[in-house]
Amino acid sequence: MTSGELEFRVAIREAIIEEMERDPSVVFFGEDVAAEQGGVFAVTPGVQERVGAERVFDTPISELALSGAAFGAAVAGLRPIIEIMFGDFMGLAMDSLVNQSAKYWYLSNEQRSVPLVVRSAVGGGGRFGAIHSQTHATWFQGIPGLKIAFPSSPAEAKGLLKGAIRDDNPVIFLEHKRLYSVKGPAPGAGEDVIPLGTARIARPGQDLTIVSAGKGVADALAAAGRLAGEGVEAEVVDLRTLRPLDLDTVLESVARTNRVLAVEEGPRTGGWASGLLGVVAEQGLHDLDDAWLLATGELPIPYSPTLEDAFIPGEAAIASSVRERAGLAVS
C-alpha cells in the first residue's frame, strides 16, 4: 500500500479505534471480533489490544442476545457497536432493532434515543451462497427511526462509520464483502467524519444519472469510465445512506441530466431502487425523459460462479444497460 492509500477493512478498523479512543462510552462486541484474526473478514484484528477487553469482547453466537444487549446498553448510556457477522443473520436480530431500538426515541416522547451501530458484511460475488450473500438493507427500508449506511470506498467507509458512531440514532451499517480488499485514497485532514443523510456526486456528468450505494457505486464509476470513452458522460450519485434517503441530491442531478438509472444489488420488488424511482416520478416527472432500474431477478442468490456472476448487476451490466437504452441522447 502506498502512502495515503487506505484499504477498506483498515478504514473500518481505524474508524472504530479512533472513535473508541475519543469516547469512552463506545463499546464494541460481536462474534470473533476480538479474536486474533479479527473476525472472518479480518476487519478488526488488534482492536481489543488497543482499546481493552472491558470495551471490546467476543460474544456467544447469539444474535438475539447480541442485538438485545446493544439496545438495552444504548438506553442505559453506552454507545454500542455490534457486529452481526453476515447481514443474512439479521433475521435473528430484527425484534431488538425494529421493535425496540428504532421506535424508542419516538415512543418515549423523546426521553432518550438509542445510539448504536450494527455492522455486517453483505453482498454477493463471494460464492457464499444464498444465505451468506444478501444485502439486508431493504429489510429495514420501511422502518422509521433507523438509519442505513452503505459506504462505497475506503474513505467513505471511515467517514460514514465515524458518522454512524457519533449519530444518536440506531444505524444499520453495511460493508460489502467485495470491497474489503479495495484500496483507495485516505480521507483528507478534517474530512474523516461524514454525518449521515447526505448523498454525494461521486462523478459529475450531464447525459444521465446513475444512482447507487455501496459496491454499486464502485461498479457505476467503472461503467461510467467505459461509457466516457464512448461519448456518454454519466453522473454517479452515491446515496451513502438508504435511510434517510437524500432525495434532493438525486432530484437536482436528474434535473440536469433528465435520465436516471438506479442500480441495486437486490430484487427489483420491494427494493430501495424501485422506491426511489417512484419518488423521482412523483416529484420530478417534469424533468424526466427516462427512468429505469437494474436489479437482480426474483430468486435467491445462486452459488455456482456462472450463475452468481450472471445474477448480480456489475460494471459490464450497467454499461450495456446504458448503451441498450434506446433513445439516449449523447451530447
Partner: protein, 327 residues
C-alpha cells in the same frame, strides 16, 4: 439491609416501609381496577393486560432496588412501572392517550417508557424485556448499578430467555431475571408447553443460582430479591427468581379466562397478595387505623389521577407530530 452472621442478610426495615409497600400494592390494584372500568367506558383504547393479583412481585422486587437501578417490564407492566416509581398521574394519562401521559400518549399500555425512574421500558413482545435488561446490565456494571428483567412464564420458552441468561452469566452481568409465573401463557397452561415444568431449574444449566418464591408474598419476594440484588451488585453475576403468582383477570381485555378451573381460581383468590400483606402488617404491630389511613390516601391519590387524566387534553396531531430522529 445490613450484613448478618455467616453471610446471611438481616432486613432492618422499619414498619413504616411495610406500610409504604402495602400502599404501593394497593395503588397498583386500584390502578388496574380503574383501567378495567375506563376500558369498558371507552376511555382506554386498543387492549390492556391487567396485573391484578400479581402486585407483590414488582413491589417486592423494587423494594430491594436503589434509585439508578434499571428495570425492564412487560406488556402486563402497569405494576412494573408503578413499583419502579412512575407517577400514577402520568401513567393513567398515558393509558387514556392524553398529552400529559408519561410518553405523551405515543406509547399506550404495552410500551410505557420512563427513563427518569429507571424503567427501560415495557415490552410488547414476549421476552423483549429480558434482552433489554441484559443490555442495561452491561451499562449498569460500570456504575455499580443493577438491572432487572420482569417476564412471564411464557417468555421462558423464547430464545431471548436462553440466550440472555447465557450472555449474562458469561459476562457476570449485574442482572436479576424475575419470572412472574402466573401459570398461563395467554390462554395456554404453562405445564402444557414448558418442558421440564420447572422454570427455576432451567437456571442450573447456565450455572445461575435460582430461587422459587411465593410470588403473592411481597416479603418473600423482597427477601429473595435482596439476595439476588446483593449478588449482582457485588460482582456475583445474575440470578433467576421464579415468583409463582396468579392473575385475577384474563390475559387481555378480550379474555374472560374460561380455561381456568373455578377451584383453581378460588384457591388463588384466597391468597390475594393484598390480603396477605394486610395480615402481615397487623401481625407486625401496625394499627388498623394506620392501615386505613394509607388505604384512604391511596384511593384519594388514584381518584385524583383519574380525574386529572380525564380532564387532560389529547395530543394535537398538528403540533405534536414528533421527529423521526434524535438530532
Amino acid at each position: 439491609m445490613t450484613s448478618g452472621p455467616a453471610g446471611t442478610t438481616v432486613d432492618t426495615e422499619a414498619p413504616a416501609a411495610y406500610l409504604e409497600r402495602y400502599g404501593r400494592m394497593l395503588l397498583i390494584r386500584l390502578f388496574e381496577t380503574e383501567m378495567q372500568r375506563l376500558f369498558l367506558k371507552g376511555e382506554v383504547h386498543g387492549t390492556t393486560h391487567l396485573c391484578a393479583g400479581q402486585e407483590a412481585v414488582p413491589v417486592g422486587v423494587c423494594s430491594a432496588l436503589e434509585p439508578g437501578d434499571w428495570l425492564a417490564g412487560t406488556y402486563r407492566g402497569h405494576g412494573h412501572a408503578l413499583a419502579k416509581g412512575t407517577d400514577p398521574d402520568a401513567l393513567i394519562a398515558e393509558m387514556l392517550g392524553r398529552a400529559t401521559g408519561v410518553c405523551g400518549g405515543r406509547a399506550g399500555s404495552m410500551n410505557v417508557i420512563d427513563v427518569e425512574h429507571g424503567l427501560v421500558g415495557c415490552f410488547g413482545i414476549v421476552g423483549g424485556s429480558i434482552a433489554a435488561a441484559t443490555g442495561a446490565a452491561l451499562a449498569a456494571k460500570r456504575e455499580g448499578r443493577v438491572s432487572v428483567a420482569m417476564f412471564g412464564d411464557g417468555a421462558t420458552n423464547q430464545g431471548y430467555f436462553h440466550e440472555c441468561l447465557n450472555f449474562a452469566k458469561v459476562f457476570a452481568l449485574p442482572a436479576v431475571f424475575v419470572c412472574e409465573n402466573n401459570f398461563y401463557g395467554e390462554f395456554t397452561p404453562m405445564q402444557n408447553v414448558t418442558a421440564g415444568q420447572d422454570i427455576a431449574a432451567r437456571a442450573g444449566a447456565f450455572g445461575i443460582p435460582s430461587n422459587t418464591v411465593d410470588g403473592n408474598d411481597a416479603w418473600a419476594v423482597r427477601d429473595a430479591a435482596l439476595e439476588a440484588v446483593a449478588r449482582a451488585r457485588s460482582g456475583g453475576g445474575p440470578t433467576l427468581l421464579e415468583c409463582q403468582t396468579y392473575r385475577h383477570y384474563g390475559h387481555s381485555k378480550s379474555d374472560p379466562a374460561p380455561y381456568r378451573p373455578p377451584e383453581e381460581v378460588e384457591r388463588w383468590l384466597a391468597r390475594d397478595p393484598l390480603t396477605l400483606a394486610r395480615t402481615r402488617l397487623l401481625e407486625s404491630g401496625v394499627s388498623e387505623l394506620d392501615i386505613a389511613e394509607v388505604e384512604d390516601a391511596t384511593r384519594a391519590r388514584m381518584d385524583r389521577a383519574v380525574g386529572a387524566a380525564l380532564a387532560a387534553p389529547y395530543p394535537d396531531p398538528e403540533t405534536e407530530r414528533g421527529t423521526e430522529f434524535a438530532p
